[in-house]
Symmetry: C2
Subunit: 216 residues, 2 copies
């Protein structure tokens, strides 16, 4: 399976690319193709330093969609519409949303669109039949990029297509020490998305860094 | 400090009473005073079996409010209005809400009132100045009652009164291996409340029991 990361040059996207390109074929996309290539260099360099193989390729976001079976949308919520608008072929892919609509006011606040969650908004704007799953929502960019340390989090996965969800859960389980949990239909995504502002608040008010969750 | 448990004869309330009455003075309330006394007997019996002290008293829910510094509302959301309606004096207390408005449909769904959360609904119907905190929302009743095993969960606490929040967090930290985290103002409670239907779905879809969370 080939995994594409749309918006793969942001902090979370690049960290994902670094970890995923060591265990499978990864395609990193950006509006700016030179940035995508920089991220590929970062992946290749860090893998080489440790004497590991790395399979990563850069391109436009459309290249990523065309060349992948599963596409992770590693973009902020405010860029979702403009990014999706220009892309074709997503309806033939599994689309993974780690997107958390939120704002920083006095504290971090979950600010979902009228549809109820980023995931349901995606469902509305993507062609019918696109297999959307929510996953990777609650892992800090810093932790993705700190590739020498294990990720020991639980990853709740939502989605309405059982086969797509199983593929996404298998992907999660291959990364570091992450453990995937079926968290129900796509309509439950708002809970998972809202956990991220909670974790940011917990970090802030308790002087912690990069807080994640584990189901126990 | 004397802790009162309104609705202390339900599964969660009784489990809380069992654990708390071993470490502080507890007052257990119910609409039916004979049920409150049964819960006291359960607490006393289980403590005696292990040769431990236990301080617990039963009464009406109004007795609980009158006799406590901190009142935990261990009641389902659907009973909040009718229970609160009959009670006076809550505005002089710290009121703790472990209440999660939810429904079981195809899966468990978070169903907050128009105010946005059970906590904000409480704030609306209780007298101004009542010091409300959210805590203990994500711990299963079974786990409260299984008193021979440690509770190893993280407990996010929300509230707008810093002193009340500190007192509630100290209370949390005294119970088993629970660890309290400041999770921000009362307006953030909806996230904590919604985690409970998520945990119930995770348990159901992954064949687990009594799932809780830990911040890592």
């Amino acid at each position: 399976m080939r995994v594409g990361i749309v918006g793969g040059t942001g902090e979370i996207g690049e960290g994902m690319a670094m970890r995923l390109s060591r265990i499978m074929d990864v395609c990193v996309g950006s509006r700016d193709i030179s940035k995508a290539r920089e991220t590929c260099d970062t992946c290749l360099f860090s893998a080489k330093e440790e004497g590991l193989d790395c399979s990563v390729e850069g391109g436009t976001n459309q290249d990523v969609v065309d060349g992948s079976d599963l596409v992770i949308l590693a973009i902020p919520f405010k860029h979702v519409q403009s990014t999706i608008q220009g892309l074709t072929g997503l309806d033939e892919k599994i689309v993974v949303s780690p997107i958390n609509p939120m704002e920083r006011r006095d504290c971090f606040v979950y600010t979902p669109p009228a549809e109820g969650s980023a995931a349901l908004y995606l469902q509305k704007i993507l062609p019918e039949g696109t297999r959307i799953c929510t996953a990777f929502n609650n892992i800090a960019g810093n932790r993705w990029r700190d590739i020498s340390s294990d990720l020991t989090y639980s990853v709740p996965v939502c989605g309405d297509d059982a086969e797509a969800k199983r593929i996404v859960m298998d992907l999660v389980d291959r990364i570091s020490l992450l453990k995937a949990y079926d968290a129900g239909p796509l309509s439950c995504s708002h809970i998972i998305e809202s956990i991220t502002p909670l974790l940011l608040n917990v970090a802030r008010y308790n002087r912690m860094k990069d807080v994640g969750i584990r189901f126990v």
